[in-house]
């Protein structure tokens, strides 16, 4: 593994990743931040992502790309333990951030763990809260918490209209090809997230006829790359999925699951995990387990704040800029 981490300013961190794997040191430093979501702009095939918390202060022109959308993740509606007794309030806060954007995103992506225990009322609550978001189109993929006890049947009924298999699908927006994948079903002992043969075959076919210049955005709950297998943070056949995307000049992979921002650039592929709207989780290996991390009450929203990320295609470098909501 090789990577270089520099710290140009007190609230900026640059990572250069030129090879496989994760730069552990840079990776752990990233963990100092947490936030509620990311706002993405695609301009000329290059995707830029900003922390929601920093959006109101940004120049609308800067954000006025050809296509804008926002990602939220891991709302865990129904969770009520010490790490955040009111996950509805923090989801509402995320929606407020989205609604406060100078350039409203055209749609939302929810990258899973909508609910905590797959209970109908949990999904209902999230649906209700998201109704107040200006963007009315929301594209979902399930997290493992959304498919409990019924192998995802309820999720499919609620969100899977027009999807294939266990809920995977693709759509196009202004020349960008979006692919929603499901990697939280049929998990095997000792394993990681799984896409499975059928979904991989579908993906290969789905992108086969696209021009190489088509920007691709793949979104799924569990990171498609190997973030920290010791805690199950990866997808065992994620690499296989990426082989079908090699020919494309711009591929962006958006995930959730790990409740913290993590990024990596590998060739033309940019990997990005979004923060949770519910509670933070520890940095890889920086705790006894990947469970909810309790922080002092006055720090929770500080951790639900602020990261802003700039992706630059074909430069093997990505910048993460963080500004906490509260100093």
């Amino acid at each position: 593994m090789s990577g270089r981490t520099t710290k140009p300013t007190q609230d900026e961190l640059l990572h250069d990743h030129n090879h496989d794997g994760v730069d552990r040191r840079g990776f752990l430093k990233c963990m100092a931040w947490a936030g509620t979501g990311a706002f993405c702009v695609i301009r000329g095939g290059v995707l830029k992502s900003y922390a929601l918390s920093r959006l109101p202060e940004m120049d609308p022109k800067e954000m006025a790309g050809e296509l804008s959308f926002a990602q939220i993740s891991d709302s865990h509606m129904g969770f009520n333990k010490a790490a955040n007794p009111d996950v509805a309030a923090t989801l509402k806060a995320a929606v407020d951030k989205i609604n406060g954007l100078a350039v409203p995103p055209e749609f939302l992506l929810h990258t899973g763990d909508i609910s905590h225990l797959s209970k109908p009322e949990e999904f209902d609550t999230v649906d209700q809260i998201l109704k107040s978001a200006k963007p009315q189109d929301v594209f979902y993929v399930p997290g493992e918490h959304d498919v409990l006890n019924d192998d995802g049947k309820q999720f499919l009924e609620r969100y899977g209209k027009g999807s294939k298999g266990a809920g995977w699908y693709s759509f196009d927006k202004k020349g960008v090809h979006f692919v929603g994948l499901v990697n939280v079903l049929n998990l095997k002992a000792g394993g990681l997230g799984t896409l499975g043969h059928d979904q991989l075959e579908w993906l290969e076919d789905d992108v086969k006829h696209l021009k190489h210049s088509t920007p691709i955005v793949v979104f799924a709950h569990i990171p498609l790359w190997s973030v920290y297998p010791e805690w199950g943070w990866g997808t065992e056949d994620g690499a296989q999925a990426l082989t079908y995307l090699k020919k494309f000049g711009s591929v962006t992979v958006l995930n959730g699951h790990i409740h913290q921002v993590m990024q990596k650039v590998e060739g033309n592929v940019t990997f990005h995990t979004a923060r949770s709207t519910a509670f933070p989780q520890p940095a890889p290996g920086q705790g006894p387990s990947p469970g909810p991390m309790k922080v002092p009450d006055d720090q929770l929203r500080t951790m639900l704040g602020i990261a802003n990320v700039t992706f630059k295609q074909n430069e093997q470098r990505l910048a993460i800029i963080d500004t906490p909501l509260k100093a």
Binding site: K81, E144, L148, L187, A189, G191, E230, G232, P288, S289
Partner: protein, 134 residues
């Protein structure tokens, strides 16, 4: 084995023709009585789920033991056999538990189907031997 030895004793006693009905009863009945009482106080085993870990990681029990998993984490977990040897649990929220009675000796690998990197083992030994006849 102890049971067959006892039965053999009973048979021998009967064959001798010298034993009275009382003696037969004294020899034969106790093992049955003991078996019944063993069922009443079914052996139990416990696995605790804490910090995304099964403790003990490997639990050794006698056949007939009811093993209970208890979730002490702030996050739900689920118990599933690695090779479908037993029916998986519902998702266990904090303080929920799941029990399964292992009747057949063998080694049972299991995992959390929500966090599959969590794995554990139940080793079930034959219930015969000292336990059954004490």
């Amino acid at each position: 084995m102890a049971i067959s030895n006892t039965m053999r004793s009973a048979l021998v006693a009967a064959a001798l023709g010298a034993a009275t009905a009382t003696l037969l009863a004294a020899v034969v009945i106790p093992p049955w009585t003991q078996t019944a009482s063993a069922q009443n106080a079914a052996p139990a085993g416990a696995v605790s789920i804490d910090n995304f870990t099964f403790t003990p990681q490997s639990l050794k029990v006698k056949a007939g033991t009811t093993v209970t998993w208890n979730n002490k984490d702030d996050i739900p977990h689920g118990i599933a056999s690695s090779d479908n040897a037993f029916k998986k649990s519902k998702a266990l929220d904090t303080d929920d538990s799941f029990s399964y009675t292992f009747t057949t000796p063998g080694t049972y690998q299991y995992f959390c189907y929500i966090h599959p990197h969590m794995v554990g083992t139940i080793v079930v030994e034959a219930a015969t031997g000292s336990n059954a006849t004490q």
